[in-house]
Amino acid sequence: MPESSLQVKDVPGGPFKCRMSPLRQLSQSPGLSRPGHTPYILGAFCTKDNVPECLSYVNQEVSSLGLPPVWTEPGRSSELNVVAVLNSMYDLIQLHCRGLRTLEDMEAEQLRSSSNVDFLQLSNTRLKDQLELCKRENTGVLERERQLQLKVKSLQNCLKTEKEEVQKLQNIIASRASQYNHDMKRKEREFNKLKERLNQLLVDKKEKKQAIEVLNYIGRADGKRSLWKTGKTESKHEGDMYKTLLSDYDSRQKELVLENAELRKVLQQMKRDMVSILSPKKPSPRGEKHEDATILQADSEEEEEQEVFGSSKDSVELSCVHAREKLTNSIRLQWRRLKSHVERLDSQASLAQMGERTNSEAVPREAHEQEMERLKLEIQQCKDFIHTQQQLLQQQLSAPCDEETASLLNDCYMLEEKERLKEEWKTLEEQRKNFEKERRTFTEAAIRLSHERKAFEEDRATWLKHQFLNLTPFADQKKPQMSKSKSAFSVSEPEDSEVSSHSQKTLSTPRCPSVKTPSTAELYRSLCLIPQQSPNTTKPKRKDSCTQESGVFHNGDVPDQHALWNGGEDHSDHTLNGEHSGSM
């Protein structure tokens, strides 16, 4: 390219210069303003002799160029019109300049176009190459396609033949199978014949017959005698068979009924749950739509309630078709409602989200993060814990085994033991609390007892006094005395404690016989129990019966007291107390 462009520059430059040399010399002379040269030039073209010729020539030339003539011949002498000459000269220079400019432009234009041509030529060749390539490729593809088509054809042929082959083989197999079956049957028949024959022969054979030697016959396993075969036995067998079948079906039916009932129960529960879930929505109608829905709901609910009761009633009586229909209908209804409900909720939720996305979501996210943090921390802690445990274990394991492992095992057992002990400790603690309570009740009871005792002592004193005073027969006096004592009790009790007299009466009646027997010593003993009670209570007693038992061991009166007190505190215990004192 650069070469060509240079050429392009050079080639037109050479001849142009040559051709224009005289003119340029002419025109350049004033522009270059070389004073030394001008006389030479003038001398060459114009001398003193040929001025007019020169003038006419120039004039001619100038006029041919379309400029105003430099010199007008007829008018004056041979003097030059300087102004005109200068003007024409200026015009000539202008012309020349313009020509030069256009020339340059033309040169640039030519350069551009030539390079353009080059480029076009280049791209043309490239495109030609491409075309060639494409053509080649095309032919290749075509060739390949042809080959593939050939292949497909051959494969299709192959397939056809294969199919035929398969068909043939299938036919062969089928024929063989039938042949084989036929042969098998024939052989089997022969085999059977042989068997029959063999059987016959063996049966006929005399020397080595089948035989059974039994020392003595044994009874049947069920101890019965065998029965003759009659029509009866046959029918009995049939009957038995059907019985077993029936019982099987029965049991299966029962199972199914049970299963059904259970499933129904689940269903009903589900239904009820659904109803309960859906019903609270009812009182919040927003628009007409909802109202409509709620009315519908109410209606269907009533229906359903009916159905719920109905199905449970009818489940046994109604044919399953009915029940099923009802159930499926109601379920379908429920389902539809649930669906609509969920949809509604969905839309509401989306609305709510739209509304308060910024508010609502910010908080839970933080909460989530906090939670996550917390959980992570926990996990880390747990991991650490496990790790330390593992390390400890490892140490234990890697240490010389014998005793170490034994001790480790022991440790494990110890741990287990410890846990168990802890639990026991807890229960003990609970028991202790209970006993503490009981002890308190006991002390209170004891205090009451002491009061009672005082009253009793007084009573006794009066009684003794009475006995001493009037020596009447015992039998008559005793009963009123007892009633007196009773009254004394009932009087004294309300003073001592805030127990209602009503309960006291019911309690004191069964106590009468015990009052009759106890001596003072016993009462003392019961009183002495007050300090003894505290260690007793700490003993492990779990159940009431236990405490009663222990009470029996110590003293007959104590549990009575305890019961009495209990009765005073808790009215519901009356019957129990009554029983208890009765048993005493």
Binding site: A211, R220, A221, S226, T233, R252, L397, C401
Partner: protein, 493 residues
């Protein structure tokens, strides 16, 4: 866990009486009856030839000993040791002999399956049943002992006859829609009879007791079909194992498939526990803490083996029982407590593997051979029908345990050698298995355990059977037997 001393036995003939009181073993031509508890010999009977088959009567009063080559059956009484009975089938031959459920009749199948002879011990009566079919399981008694179903072949068609066992009255006789009937089995409640076709066709037929066809089931066509079939003890499920390495479970109401259990070579189920037996010496804890569970077991082992050594020094070990502890490891992994039974010569228990994709060794069967070693050949429901144990023949060293409540894989037990025999505890969900080495393996929902049988002279457990109480196990070696007593009080549940 305790182990008894070792006794002799031949032909793996050793059975506990149905009432669980006696143990009968055959040694060549002698029949030895022992007390199960004391193992003292109570009776000793001598038969005419080497015993090939031995069976208790249902009431535990008689024992049948069959000598097939001679066509002889001898019956012995426990009540009257001098009572005897000899049945000679003569030249017609004998291939199988069994008790009827009442324990008063003996059913002999003659050679070539010419007929079945029913001998009565109450009367001299003999009855014949012709045309019995020679197949995988051609005869089955219902669980209550009332009915017998017998597969027959007449005129190139399969028939089933249902007899009343009481007086051998033919109750029903019907043709089955099978090409070549392979077996039949009563449901445990005795109301449904499952009949299956030979392996050339996948077909299971279910007949009611009265001969009605209840349902037909076929999972697929053309390739080899049913290989094994078993009922759950509740009669609720029918499990069908087939050559496509799957077990299909049918329900008892619609007789449709509930689910199918596959036996893939890679266990992906994350909920299933895979126990893998690893053969290695017990080493004290490496620094990897993830296996501290196992190392714990091995350290336990160490201490105990030392105890054993001490015992060996001090006392005679052969005569006394081996007293062993069951150690409940509190360090167990994800599952509940991980029980490790550790007899004196304990081996580290099967390791627990947690990562779910577990590869299982598969032996590809030779396709050119008949009866290819592939497909589910053994199926067993636990006594409570809660679990199903299966074995796929192409993975002979693996036993699969399925949970029937969740209908999913519960455990995979992979052993170093092929499993010979497995049986469920008749009382508890506990599976015992053996692989022909000196170990006994136990699986229960709580965990897995392997126990070295502490006997001298390479006792290899070939087969095992539970005592009906589930408290003990008979372990049968090649020519020996030994009893294993479970520690019932320390057992879970």
């Amino acid at each position: 866990m305790n182990f008894s001393e070792v006794f002799k036995q031949s032909n793996q003939l050793c059975k506990i009486s149905p009432d669980g009181k006696y143990l009968a073993t055959c040694v060549q031509y002698r029949l030895v009856v022992r007390d199960v508890n004391t193992l003292q010999i109570l009776h000793l009977y001598t038969c005419l030839d080497q015993i090939v088959h031995m069976e208790w009567s249902s009431d535990s009063l008689f024992i049948l000993c069959a000598m097939y080559k001679r066509g002889l059956v001898q019956v012995w009484s426990l009540e009257q040791p001098d009572w005897h009975c000899k049945i000679d089938e003569g030249s017609i031959g004998l291939v199988s002999s069994r008790w009827s459920p009442d324990g008063r009749h003996i059913l002999n199948t003659t050679e070539f399956h010419l007929r079945v002879t029913v001998w009565s011990l109450c009367t001299k009566a003999v009855s014949y049943i012709k045309y019995p079919k020679a197949c995988q399981k051609g005869m089955d008694f219902s669980r209550d002992g009332c009915y017998m179903a017998l597969a027959e072949r007449r005129d190139c068609k399969d028939y089933v006859s249902v007899f009343v066992c009481d007086d051998w009255h033919l109750l029903r006789h019907f043709e089955t829609e099978t090409q070549d009937l392979a077996g039949l089995e009563w449901s445990p409640n005795g109301c449904v009879l499952a009949v299956w076709d030979s392996c050339l066709e996948y077909k299971v037929l279910l007949y009611s007791l009265d001969g009605r066809l209840l349902s037909t089931y076929s999972a697929y066509e053309w390739s080899l079909g049913v290989k094994s079939l078993t009922w759950s003890t509740s009669s609720q499920f029918l499990a069908i194992g087939s050559y496509d390495e799957k077990v299909r479970i049918l329900n008892h109401i619609t007789w449709k498939k509930i689910t199918e259990f596959e036996h893939p070579a890679t266990v992906n189920n994350p909920k299933a526990v895979v126990y893998k037996e690893v053969e290695r010496r017990p080493t004290v804890a490496s620094d990897d803490l993830s296996i501290h569970n196992i190392s714990m077991g091995s350290t336990l082992f160490n201490t105990q083996s030392k105890c054993a050594a001490k015992d060996k020094e001090t006392g005679d070990l052969r005569d006394c029982y081996f007293k062993v502890m069951l150690c409940k490891s509190k360090f167990g992994g994800k599952r509940n407590s991980f029980i490790k039974a550790s007899p004196l010569l304990l081996w580290p228990a099967l390791d627990e593997i947690y990562q779910p994709p577990v590869q299982i060794p598969v032996v590809k069967p030779d396709p050119d051979r008949a009866n290819p070693k592939i497909g589910v050949s053994t199926l067993a429901f636990s006594s409570d029908s809660r679990y199903l144990a299966t074995k796929n023949d192409s993975m002979a060293s693996v036993v699969w345990v399925w949970d029937m409540q969740k209908l999913s894989l519960e455990a995979v037990l992979e052993h170093t050698s092929a499993v010979r025999c497995f049986q469920w505890d008749p009382r508890r969900p506990r599976l015992a298995l053996c692989t022909g080495n000196a170990k006994l393996y136990l699986w229960s929902p709580a965990g897995c355990v392997s126990v070295q049988v502490p006997t001298e002279g390479g006792f290899q457990v070939q087969s095992l059977s539970w005592h009906c109480s589930g408290d003990s196990l008979i372990l049968l070696g090649k020519e020996q037997l030994c009893l294993c007593y479970m520690d019932t009080d320390q057992e879970d549940n």
